[in-house]
Amino acid sequence: MSLYLSIAIIALIFVVIFQIAKASEYVSILKGEENSRKQNNKINGFLMFAFLVLGFIGVYVCNEYLFDKTLLAQPAASVQGEKLDQMLWITLAITGAVFIATQFLLFWFAYKYQEDENRKVFFFAHSTKLELIWTAIPAITLTVLVVFGLRNWFFFTGDAPKNAMVVEVTGKQFGWIFRYSGKDAVFGKKYYKNIDPATNSVGIIWDDKYAQDDILTEQTMYVVKGQPVKLIIGSRDVIHDVGLSHFRLKMDAVPGIPTTMWFTPLYTTKEMREKTGNPNFAYEISCDQMCGNGHYSMKGIVEVVEQDEYDLWMAKQKAQYLVAFPEKDPEAAKAADAEGKVNAAATEAAKAPGAKKDSTAKKATAKM
């Protein structure tokens, strides 16, 4: 009912506006078209000026209202982010100045040079000097921005420091998987046909000697404050994007083509909660590349902690190999031992991974 009512009201408004506009046409014929044209010209000329003033006021109000909601109102959470913010402010200063100057001139000229019977227009078709000036000035300004930008770009995309910890990030519809290399600090090889969503979500080749201590976690990635982190990014299905807005970085996750990105976190999650005054603050990972109908819900978390806290967390993690094959778990074996089922467990454990080993090894060599 209310729908029909609102449609009726909107239609009525349309009719009213249309009738007024139509009537103004007849009025203008009565008053003389030239007169009414001049009058309209004055109104529009004034509106140009009004738009200029109201526009700048609007920009100010908008900034007052929204600035605190942006990331610029809080410190950048990574070394890269600080550099980026600095560059952002410089770019803002330059483009902002050009914005104010050109918009002012545009609307001011429109207002000032509105039609006036007494004005003789200035026949001004070209001026090489002027044209050279406003070719050169933008060119020089942009050169500065390019040089500045490229220095940062090569820093951001350059090699991570030697002491960086490495985390492998894999996107899938619709979530994130993180792999840590375990004690040996080397990732086991993987092959996508080995993927088993339940136990081997990234397709690790279990008989690779580096694979068995690899640790898999979902949704939350732990990193250490002050230590550079290098992410090796991949995807299981479609293109995703690891969006780390607080660290001011992002990188696509492309199936079949690994990408990398590194950054140095500056504040722990706890510190950021204090700095932002938001007890629920979290370093959220947003998927920034359209990846399907669940795109908007593909959220991960980066938990930045101190080294000791990280060590504690790491100590609690179980190697994925043991999750996939619980019978291989020495602790589980101990428990089984106590119950006197040693033989049964041993034979089973020997069977299961062994059978798988052959086929995976073959594929792995084919892939290499």
């Binding site: 770019t91 039609e115 026949f123 299905d237």
Partner: protein, 600 residues
């Protein structure tokens, strides 16, 4: 006084009917399968307008979801059925709407609707030709576009819905029906529609180039062409060189989808399906092919608007366009650079950093010709005598939007900033302002300015003023705050932000933007009413040259027939921008150069 000069030139050529085609048109040949460029232009315009309304309506619907994620719309369910289950817009529907909105607005409205309309309408009229080089090809161009439209429309009615992976259609998402329901048969129809569209734009583009190069009237040297024609010329060249690359990319996509090839696919495991056998392809290859069209496409959309704005600004400032040759040079360099910057859409794909740096340099280089154009427009206004026709208002609006959106391009083109702002609302704000709304303003300016020539009647001015001021204010109110959302890292193409601690602070703002977008959409309906009412009932044009303009189209009769000039095609003696020269308000191109006349 205004039209006497024009009438005079007209008569001086006599009425010997030379070259005038006597047609006995049936309804079918006059309005449907017409080969008259003016009718084809109107066909493009009206089809484009239908798509603009549909595309705009789609944006209002998905804005409803963004503004009111928790509200229920039972009335929508009664229209859209399962897409609005229980009154809630579903993610499937949301993404289908976003994708179709993008595709339709970029290709059908701002490519076909803009250059299809004005290239067809203005090229023969402004260069002094009776029609296009090949009127038949021209007709085919429209009907391929029409067929593409029908196919795109039909994709909205398939069981699994239209394509919903974003207008850029990146594989693997667009290649795998199992990854998204929209990538099933909806995507096949999307590709077919786009392929037909490419054919349409090639037929049109080749025709425009051939016509401009070969069919100019006597005296119309290339440097006497109005800037509209130059802009449309470069637009056509861009289209002819880049659209085939999109087509090839789409053909490879068809192969990957249906014939088991692996151009774009490698190492994929789809939930619920398992590992696919494709290996060795590159998903990034598609992006290179797509953006090789995709970036020139931005200028295919923008250049016609720039050309028309230059023309309309000069006419209504009663002053020559400042720096004709500089305008031409900047059009040319924009057209060349358009082909060398595509990878700036791909800074975060893992691109080689050195390659990235080259694209940064070339991308920011585009800002130089763009700045030249802006300064030249400003100087054109300076010390002019400005008449605020609705066309002029929209032209000024265009320049304002082009400045605002162009400046944020300097942010995004610099890879080191793009790495933060890429695919956030900052990008949404940037390209909507600089490409979407600005070009739309150019199109409105063109419609208001040339409507009298198209239909022999005027649009209602008061409605034009309302249309402009509401749309102008609305465009800024909608898109300006989005920059702030982008600076918070808020990603585009999100159905709902309520689970995100980092982005949910914008709920109120999103509501505000939605309300403004509905008002702006309603204002466009007002324009449509004005348009269709005026086609039939508008105030009649009584003078040949209502804007007191120099260009050739105003030397034709008020309602030109097929062939445009009843007598000889007028001869051209000067450039089109002699406004205010030696104290004379305007001197049409057909007026011979006087003995004591100064040169410009």
């Amino acid at each position: 006084m205004s039209h006497e000069a024009a009438l005079h030139t007209h008569e001086s050529h006599g009425h010997d009917d030379h070259g005038h085609h006597e047609h006995h048109d049936t309804f079918l040949t006059k309005y449907v399968f017409s080969q008259d460029h003016k009718m084809i232009a109107k066909q493009f315009l009206i089809t484009g307008m239908v798509w603009a309304v549909l595309g705009g309506l789609m944006s209002v619907l998905f804005r409803l979801q963004l503004g009111y994620p928790d509200a229920s719309f039972p009335w929508l369910e009664s229209i859209l059925g399962k897409w609005v289950k229980g009154g809630q817009i579903t993610p499937e529907a949301y993404y289908a709407l976003v994708t179709t909105h993008g595709t339709v607005l970029v290709f059908f409205v701002l490519t076909a609707g803009l250059s299809g309309t004005f290239a067809n309408f203005l090229i023969p009229l402004q260069i002094g030709a009776r029609d296009m080089a090949s009127p038949f090809m021209n007709m085919l161009s429209y009907w391929f576009f029409f067929t593409a439209s029908i196919v795109m429309l039909s994709s909205m009615f398939v069981e699994t819905g239209p394509f919903s992976g974003g207008w850029t259609a990146y594989p693997p998402l667009s290649a795998l029906g199992d990854a998204s329901p929209g990538s099933k048969s909806g995507m096949d129809l999307w590709i077919i529609s786009m392929a037909l569209f490419v054919v349409s734009s090639l037929l049109g583009g080749l025709n425009y180039i051939a016509t401009i190069l070969n069919m100019r009237t006597k005296g119309m040297s290339m440097t006497r062409l109005p800037l509209t024609i130059w802009a449309l010329f470069f637009t056509a060249v861009l289209g002819v060189l880049s659209f085939p690359v999109l087509l090839s990319g789409l053909i490879l996509l068809i192969f990957d989808r249906n014939f088991g090839t692996s151009f774009y696919l490698s190492d994929i495991f789809v939930n619920g399906v398992g590992a696919l056998s494709n290996e060795g392809g590159s998903a990034i290859l598609y992006q290179h092919l797509f953006w090789f069209l995709g970036h020139p496409e931005v200028y295919i959309i923008l250049l016609p608007a720039m050309g028309m704005v230059s023309e309309i600004m000069s006419v209504n400032s009663r002053k020559p366009i400042f720096g004709y040759m500089a305008m031409l040079g900047s059009l040319f360099s924009i057209a060349v650079l358009a082909f060398l910057v595509w990878a700036h859409h791909m800074f975060v794909t893992g691109l080689n950093p050195f390659l990235g740096s080259v694209f940064v340099l070339l991308t920011l280089l585009i800002a130089v010709p763009s700045a030249i154009k802006v300064f030249n427009w400003l100087t054109t206004l300076w010390r002019g005598n400005i008449r605020f026709t609705p066309g002029m208002l929209f032209s000024i609006g265009f320049v304002s939007l082009f400045i605002s959106g162009g400046l944020t391009g300097i942010w995004l083109g610099n890879a080191a900033l793009d790495i933060h702002l890429h695919d956030t609302y900052f990008v949404v704000a940037h390209f909507h302002i600089v490409m979407g709304v600005a070009s739309m303003f150019g199109m409105f300016a063109g419609v208001y300015h040339w409507f009298p020539k198209m239909y022999g009647r005027y649009l209602n001015n008061s409605l034009g003023y309302i249309h402009f001021w509401v749309t102008m204010a609305g465009a800024y109110l909608i898109f300006w705050p989005m920059h702030y959302e982008g600076l918070a890292g808020m990603p585009r193409r999100y159905f709902d932000f309520s689970i995100w601690e980092s982005f949910k602070q914008f709920a109120e703002l999103n509501k505000f933007i939605t309300i403004v977008s509905m008002i702006v959409f309603a204002t466009q309906i007002l324009f449509l009413i004005n348009f269709f009412y005026s086609v039939f009932k508008g105030r009649k044009v009584t003078t040949l040259n209502p804007w007191e303009s120099n260009t050739l189209e105003w030397t034709t009769p008020i309602n030109p027939g097929h062939g445009n000039w009843p007598g000889e095609i007028p001869e051209v003696h000067r450039w089109p921008y002699d406004y205010g020269k030696d104290g004379v308000d305007y001197i049409p191109q057909t007026t011979p150069v006087g003995e004591n006349e100064s040169s410009h």
